[in-house]
Symmetry: C2
Subunit: 720 residues, 2 copies
């Protein structure tokens, strides 16, 4: 009886589970059914030390489920529609029953308990790059090239007057600078008390504009997009400190050259000093400089770092909440990214994490127990787990699960964390955990309240799921472990021979394989497996989170070592009986488009079909900050630029190569692809081409579905 | 014995003739072997009334073969390399032993008999649009936007000062205006004695610029190419008369609107009057106006023509050499383009050619016998034969062969012509003929001296030549004859079924089928026939040389009637047992790209594969002059624009369609193709794409070979 039921259930599950075939509408984020195939989720945030959950209609306490208020109630109190969803509501002040919302016109704080608006501020028309300080309630924002502050009383102050208003972007204030490299993603930085604003001013008048053509106008129109190309004139950045009370700006007396990089601005807790990680244009000499925010003068240089290849400061100072004489900083100086305790007075540093792994994020501090909470891949290079390091004992504790890839937000006092992760077999898990460090260097999961464990939505809805595995091979250097993901065709039969596609990125600052759900599978791979392809993805040397030397092996000759490693992957594939050696394809986007094109041209007898998206073709067309870090300038490194240029190899094309680019790609500008076409035309070879007018470096929404239909069709046409 | 030899010769010829297969290198003008497969040629010109032949090294009399001089001798006399080939030498003055040559720096006249330079003139650096008058030896030229004259004594005079020198082309002098429509191809016009210069001034400051991006620069650069789009602001043209002696300009007091068209400037023989065919922007009202060249005032309006659809003046006045009170003009007012004798004093016209055929060119006059020499397709719509019309008797005589397509140049007195023609079976024939009109309206070939009859170079070199035929079918109106060319695959076997490609142009001002060599076969068709395709080319209604109504049937809805006719062609093809109905493709460029795309979208179940080059996609992106003639403005004809827009049909795409365009196409600007891509992306259809960076509306040289390899491969991939 028991056995019988078991068989019936098996039959049922195999009927329900394995029959539906994934389509692009299912697996692409722009697809019509994508949302239905996402693992269940909960939207969470901290209200002081209380974890809360937001829904479209409501905000409630997370653990107890206690109702706090509805969105409708908030709008009723406000007397207008200020909130459209619970997800856009902030509970910014612990213990106070205040919700903060904004619509296009106002930012409002509402006491939901008292049922009244306690504060509100108009948002000026056209305000961009809004930076609101919760403490002072001052708002910094930009309009065109200029910077403004709206103070807590709703009075606008114009910080700058010489910002460009003619669309030229020659002078811009309050925006991210240095093309978002070096960990920079914004241009305004409030002091801890919110009374002073550090901001960037960027002079781009000496930078060439790249012509971007908008064909959606009645008559195609052009915008000259400031784009400093490798070896060409770069922009010049300065830093000001604006005092809201006096309405005066103090300019920092920056040292160094005009085209130096000024990164990771960090306020001292008392607001009297601003620390800047400064880097020369050659990117091999970093100085941490302290500036007096009253006078703008240099107080001192705390430390410097040099590297034969490059130094890349990505993180600012994180002052210890319990001791403002010390801050944590991050450095790769020992070969891996680690935490260092900096003594502000002496500039001396003490390394506090060690090992052949990388600290990936300093999440914050547990003030009560004097712990730093961070993520690292210490357990396995593919994982990103949470750790708590007691900075006084020292003790280090694993927080949460010892598998998967985590992200966490801390409660106000840092003693608790909302930890979200997925692992190859866990689609999503959300847990409330304690962040105290218990044991010295002995990782062990901390106390956990499970908030959500999502089921596999693909399995639940009866889709055929390909087998997805991860493993490692040796790099071309013979010693380094490289990790891969392999996706086998659905209904895999090891006696058959399958067309095989290598998906590749291969560049720095990214990786493709980690211990997320399905080993970080991309939806398109599942789709292609459904169509009968085998997919293989390998993170070669040069990619992310494997340490300095792993990354820097590519220095001055991007592409070479990366391709050698990918060919080790191909060697491995060729050793598998079910891989069809005569039907191998390759696909990648951006740096992966560069790799794809390069592989097609360098190994024309290996790859029959390639699809390269938004590729770099010649690094001289790439920008100064990222490009020169890895390649130096074309003037300094002419052989490297020539050797890595795909224009030189255009005549090698033998298989079918389709290049696809966003017609208005501001990152890998169209000159890359178009120059390659010209080179192929001159060399008598025949690549294929497609473009998305209005598209940028990546395609989104329905374009993403269209794009992947296109990519898939190309392999169907020529590889299947 | 005789029979035996015959068999041997047959065997030999079939061995030699039919074995080699044509490649793109053979049939494309940019191909490496193209030149070797061209019919034999002779380069000829008139030295007064003496026909001469030029070679690379020498100039000699044509009939007698008498040597005149060598290129080396000319350079020796000049003391520098002024001539590089005999083909660039002019013998401008009958009876005088003077040769005129120019290099980049000088224009020189050399008496080859006396062995001395008799005159020379420096060519200013950067001089463009050079217009040299042989009588006065004054040279008109432009530099940037301004107009200059270098007089016979080598003194430069600046005619204009307000021409744009900043690259904006806002104001330009001395260039062709109205985008080369209405028979305009230059911007300076010397008076008969060469002492006065009529010239155009064009104000384009109100015209939008189309951004053309040059990716061959270090950093892609943009040029704003003045391009007045249909319904948008057009340019404004004025006409000046510059007197070289007084160095003064008189501006004509033009009547009408600012955006009228001022076409076909014609000097009176005495230089006192300038005649202009003026057309309103709506292009339905033409006025022939006489201006006094001394005062600029209107002398009188000689005549006007109106049409419900459009009037299109393409030719100026040709004054009778023997009677300056009369001139020949051309008009389609009776439904076909014919010659009219205009009485200058009264403005009265007398029609002198009649019939349901078109006068295609007024070649000139035989002054001695008072004949007008012209080309027409009176014998067969596909031919263009030479005729001489005695304007006093009247008598009309066929000159030269009664077949083929001719072109002719007349001797100084017009009594003789060098007549070049080819016919479906004659690759090239050059004949010296008399131009006297002998018989009234009874065409008969005139006396002929054969200069050259070229053999078939394809046959001679042993290539397999496909069978090429021409015939007619009825248009969709059921009555009109339409002519086609059919190219059968080599080794044609009527029991087999062949993939078939319709090549199409279909627009006004052009035709594809005429009675030239191989019925005007395009090299690519021969190549595709070699690869086993059947090609079919049909001149639909709307195309050239078939009269006003044949052309104007397309008015306000370009594409519709043209496609109906092409589908009659398809109906005919489908009636042929050797045409594979399931493997039909279509290919065309420019208007033919519009037709190809339109056919693919309108008959998605008929055409499996299409290749559209430089297509018009929406007539609102085309220019004012050509576009509004056929479509009126988008404001006047919104239904017509919508109905003919391929953006509206983007979702219909079913088969494989590749669009190819010159990345810098100044004629069908890239906005056409790119807007179509966007529309397809939004509609979820998948066209293919290619582009030639730096390429214009058509590809030349090696790009042409590359392009046709590409086009052919596409059909091989999806139609074969």
């Amino acid at each position: 009886m028991k056995i019988k039921l078991f068989i019936v259930m098996m039959l049922m599950s195999s009927t329900i589970m394995g029959q539906r075939l994934l389509t692009l509408e299912d697996v692409m984020s722009g697809g019509s059914n994508w949302y239905n195939l996402q693992p269940e989720n909960k939207f969470t945030q901290w209200w002081g030390n209380v974890p809360v959950e937001t829904t479209a209609d409501e905000v409630r306490e997370l653990v107890t489920g206690k109702h706090l208020f509805t969105v409708d109630r908030l709008n009723e109190i406000a007397g207008e529609k200020v909130a459209t969803s619970g997800h856009n509501i902030l509970l910014p002040y612990g213990k106070q029953t205040i919700a903060q919302v904004r619509n296009g016109k106002r930012r409002v704080q509402i006491d939901w308990k008292e049922g009244r608006v306690v504060w509100s501020q108009e948002i000026p028309e056209g305000a961009e790059h809004q930076d609101f300080n919760l403490k002072s309630k001052h708002l910094a924002y930009t309009i065109k090239g200029n910077l403004f502050v709206m103070n807590a009383d709703g009075k606008a102050q114009q910080v700058s007057t010489d910002g460009s208003t003619d669309g030229s972007d020659n002078i811009v204030y309050g925006r991210s600078v240095h093309r978002d490299e070096f960990g920079i993603f914004k241009g305004t930085f409030w002091s801890p008390d919110g009374q002073k604003l550090a901001f960037y001013r960027m002079d781009q008048s000496m930078v060439s504009g790249y012509p971007q053509v908008d064909i959606s106008q009645r008559i195609a129109a052009v915008t000259m997009d400031k784009y400093p190309m490798a070896g060409e004139k770069s922009h010049e950045v300065s830093v000001g400190i604006y005092d809201v009370a006096t309405q005066k700006t103090t300019w920092l007396k920056l040292v160094g050259e005009k085209d130096d990089y000024h990164t990771n601005l960090s306020w001292a807790p008392d607001g009297k000093t601003l620390y800047i990680f400064e880097l020369n244009r050659d990117q091999n000499h970093m100085r941490l400089v302290a500036y007096n925010t009253e006078t703008g003068a240099v107080e001192k240089q705390l430390l410097e770092e040099r590297d034969e290849k490059y130094v890349e400061p990505m993180n600012g100072l994180a002052f210890l909440p319990w001791d403002s004489s010390k801050a944590l900083m991050q450095s790769r100086r020992d070969g891996f990214n680690h935490l260092y305790l900096l003594d502000i007075a002496t500039g001396k540093t003490e390394q506090v994490t060690y090992g052949e792994y990388e600290v990936q994020e300093l999440v914050g501090f547990n003030t009560k127990h004097k712990c730093a909470i961070y993520r690292s891949n210490a357990i396995d290079p593919r994982t990103s787990c949470l750790f708590s390091l007691n900075l006084e004992k020292p003790r280090c504790t694993l927080l949460g699960a010892d598998e998967g890839v985590h992200s966490a937000t801390l409660s106000e006092d840092g003693t608790m964390a909302l930890d979200r992760y997925s692992s190859p077999t866990v689609p999503r898990s959300i847990n409330l955990i304690s962040t105290e460090s218990l044991l010295s260097h002995r990782p062990r999961p901390n106390r956990v309240v499970n908030i959500l464990t999502a089921k596999d939505p693909w399995q639940e809805q009866g889709y055929k799921i390909p087998e997805i595995t991860s493993g490692s091979i040796k790099a071309a250097d013979g010693t380094t472990d490289l990790y891969y993901r392999m996706v086998k065709p659905v209904d895999f039969d090891s006696t058959k021979c399958y067309p095989t596609i290598v998906y590749v990125y291969g560049g720095p600052h990214a990786h493709n394989i980690d211990a997320r759900w399905h080993w970080c599978l991309r939806g398109w791979e599942a789709y292609m497996a459904t169509k009968g392809y085998l997919l293989f993805i390998l993170d070669n040397r040069g990619s992310e989170w494997r340490g300095r030397d792993f990354e820097q092996v590519t220095f001055r000759h991007l592409g070479n070592e990366e391709m050698k490693d990918q060919m080790e992957g191909v060697k491995f594939l060729k050793s598998l009986p079910y891989v069809d050696k005569d039907r191998m394809g390759v696909h990648g986007w951006s740096f992966g488009g560069f790799m794809t094109t390069n592989l097609m041209l360098t190994y024309p007898d290996v790859f029959k079909v390639g699809v390269a998206g938004g590729p770099v073709i010649d690094w001289k067309y790439y920008e100064v900050m990222y490009g020169e870090r890895y390649m130096d300038t074309p003037q300094q490194n002419p052989e490297g630029y020539k050797g890595s240029s795909l224009l030189e190899k255009a005549g090698n094309l033998k298989g079918r190569l389709q290049i696809i680019f966003g017609y208005n790609d501001p990152t890998c500008v169209p000159q890359h692809t178009l120059s390659f076409l010209r080179a192929c035309e001159d060399a008598g070879t025949q690549p294929d081409l497609f473009t998305y007018p209005g598209g940028g470096h990546n395609m989104f929404g329905r374009d993403q579905v269209h794009l992947h239909e296109r990519i898939s069709r190309y392999f169907d046409d020529y590889l299947k």
